[in-house]
């Protein structure tokens, strides 16, 4: 299983050797910081009125939850760009042969790639998550809610990346992988909207399928194992599909 780390290490190195990774980190951090500051300003302006209310939303609900929501939107746009090249570019440049000829299993290749790109998003999440911590220095923060949102964010990014990785195994063209990943993820996002009207069984199913529905409850501090299981199943499914897809070339026809 040591192949996983070798492949993940190479992936991270190549990512950070390209300007793309740095630009993505910069742009994401800039946008989110701007939105974050706007939300802090909003909170400060309504704070006097909130102070008079019972059960008023605190800074975590107003500022941190909104930051995590914004991060999800940006992740939806950024992740397809970073996952698109994972397999398709290696296949195009014919470097995939190197991995296929080496004594590593397809599972090691897929997990290595997945871990590599996930480490990048771990860096991104660490940068995003450090912003609310600054509020903690000057006031109080609902740490439980913050932690649940953080976990939800990592699971969400994990799910996005797994889907992106799978779609990258399907095509030679990174752009095709990116657009189809974006389309799939957006569909899984908006599918919930149809479920909001009425209360039939179908609506409940659509809501359950929605990738954002589970994230929303975690942001709100509701830690339910059903949500965690949803994301884990999502990730495992797409990783297994990727492994099977790579194996298909090697297996007897």
């Amino acid at each position: 299983m040591s192949g996983i780390w070798v492949i993940a290490g190479r992936e991270i190195r190549s990512l950070f050797l390209s300007p793309l990774a740095w630009i993505v980190l910069t742009v994401v951090e800039f946008l989110l910081a701007y939105l974050f500051l706007g939300q802090v300003k909003l909170f400060l302006s309504v704070q006097p009125r909130l102070a008079g209310m019972d059960n008023a939303p605190g800074v975590t609900e107003v500022v941190v939850a909104e930051l995590f929501r914004n991060t999800a939107v940006i992740a939806l746009m950024v992740i397809p760009i970073l996952t698109m090249r994972l397999i398709s570019e290696e296949r195009r440049n014919q470097t995939l042969t190197l991995l296929f000829s080496a004594p590593v299993s397809m599972a090691e290749i897929v997990l290595g790639k997945y871990l590599g790109v996930m480490s990048f998003f771990a860096v991104m999440w660490a940068m995003v998550a450090s912003m609310p911590l600054m509020l903690y220095m000057g006031g109080q923060l609902d740490l439980g809610m913050y932690a649940a949102g953080l976990l939800g964010g990592i699971l969400l990014v994990g799910a996005f990346c797994a889907a992106g990785l799978y779609l990258s195994t399907l095509t030679l063209y990174p752009a095709v992988a990116a657009i189809s990943t974006f389309g799939l993820l957006l569909l899984l996002w908006v599918i919930e909207w149809a479920g909001k009207v009425g209360d039939s069984v179908l609506n409940n199913i659509l809501t359950y399928i929605s990738i954002m529905h589970h994230y929303e409850s975690l942001i709100e501090g509701v830690f339910s194992s059903a949500d965690i299981v949803y994301y884990l199943l999502f990730i495992i499914t797409f990783l297994i599909l990727s492994i099977r897809r790579l194996d298909a070339r090697r297996m007897p026809h």
């Binding site: 040591s2 080496a102 299993s105």
Partner: protein, 324 residues
């Protein structure tokens, strides 16, 4: 082929076939490579050379047939089989954004080279391929010839018993070609090498066995020695100032047939076991025919290749019918 451990071939391909959309890209190809062999794989473009190599290296699964590397089935136990192979595909699988050292270190670790042996393996591969001074350079900035060397270094870094090179000298200048050939010849001392090429003299220069594939089937498999014998024909071309009539020539022992050629030359066909050259010279001196030219005809490897890959009749016996 007098190998002490000849019982187990390092590579054994058995009845490999591959069907692509109903057409057979490779059809029933079987061969073996033993320790110390340098096997040249010849064939026109699209004959199935690269496809066969991809199947041997576990990159592509055959529709039928089996591949054993050092006795390990590559489909059943790919990890152990692949650890015994170093493979340079047609296009070297290089990460252009890495330096040579970074890349080779990655390849070594991918092939489970132990941490303590890593630097040694790196130095060995670089020294073997003449890359000692390029360790810090970006692969993307190297010339084609040097990229090819990095590709070969990648294939030998883990010291595999079998090295498979797909057209290793394509796109190199003559000096680089000479270097790479020397390298391959050296590799043959302690690895088994399979290499594919279009360049016929290359085969004669570095291989000890040849295999010609055409339209997905093997049409010839022989040693270089055997090939040399095929290249000798039983024909002499002579030129005489005062040529006698053909009956006089046919009297010489061994001569079967005399065929007049333009410019006063005559082609003599003789039995393979009796070369009439000596008798002919003696007789020519005695009877003052004025012999001034005597050339044993040879067919080149190119003739064999062209004949095998263009004629409709396949099989090895086709060679015997070659007429220069």
């Amino acid at each position: 082929m007098t190998d002490t451990i000849a019982s187990l071939p390092l590579v054994a391909a058995q009845h490999l076939s591959l069907a692509y959309d109903g057409t057979l890209a490779v059809h029933d190809v079987s061969f073996e490579v033993r320790r110390g062999d340098v096997l040249g794989f010849l064939g026109p473009n699209g004959a199935g050379k690269s496809t066969t190599m991809q199947m041997i290296t576990g990159n592509l699964a055959p529709s039928a047939g089996q591949v054993f590397i050092d006795g390990v089935d590559i489909l059943d136990d790919p990890k152990h089989a692949k650890a015994r192979i170093g493979y340079l595909p047609e296009q070297p699988p290089l990460y252009r954004e890495l330096t040579v050292d970074e890349y080779l270190r990655f390849c070594a670790r991918l092939n489970h080279v132990h941490k303590e042996r890593l630097n040694g393996a790196l130095d060995y591969a670089k020294q073997r391929c003449g890359l000692t001074d390029c360790g810090k350079r970006l692969i993307g900035h190297l010339s084609k010839g040097y990229q090819q060397r990095v590709g070969i270094a990648q294939a030998i870094i883990h010291g595999p018993p079998v090295v498979i090179l797909d057209e290793p000298t394509v796109g190199l200048d003559p000096i680089q070609i000479r270097d790479i050939r020397n390298l391959i010849r050296e590799l043959g001392n302690d690895h088994s090498v399979i290499l594919s090429t279009h360049i016929l003299p290359e085969i004669q220069a570095i291989c000890n066995r040849v295999q010609i594939i055409n339209k997905g089937s093997l049409v010839l498999a022989d040693t270089i020695e055997g090939l040399r014998q095929r290249m000798q024909t039983s024909t002499l071309t002579i030129a005489l100032r005062r040529a006698p009539n053909s009956t006089a020539l046919l009297e010489i022992p061994g001569v079967l047939n005399a065929e007049p050629l333009p410019a006063g030359r005559i082609r003599l066909h003789h039995t393979p076991d009796q070369n009439p050259a000596e008798a002919l010279v003696e007789r020519s001196v005695r009877e003052q025919w004025g012999l001034y030219e005597l050339v044993p005809e040879r067919i080149s490897l190119e003739d064999i290749f062209v004949n095998l890959t263009t004629s409709e009749t396949d099989v090895v016996t086709g060679v015997a019918q070659v007429t220069p």
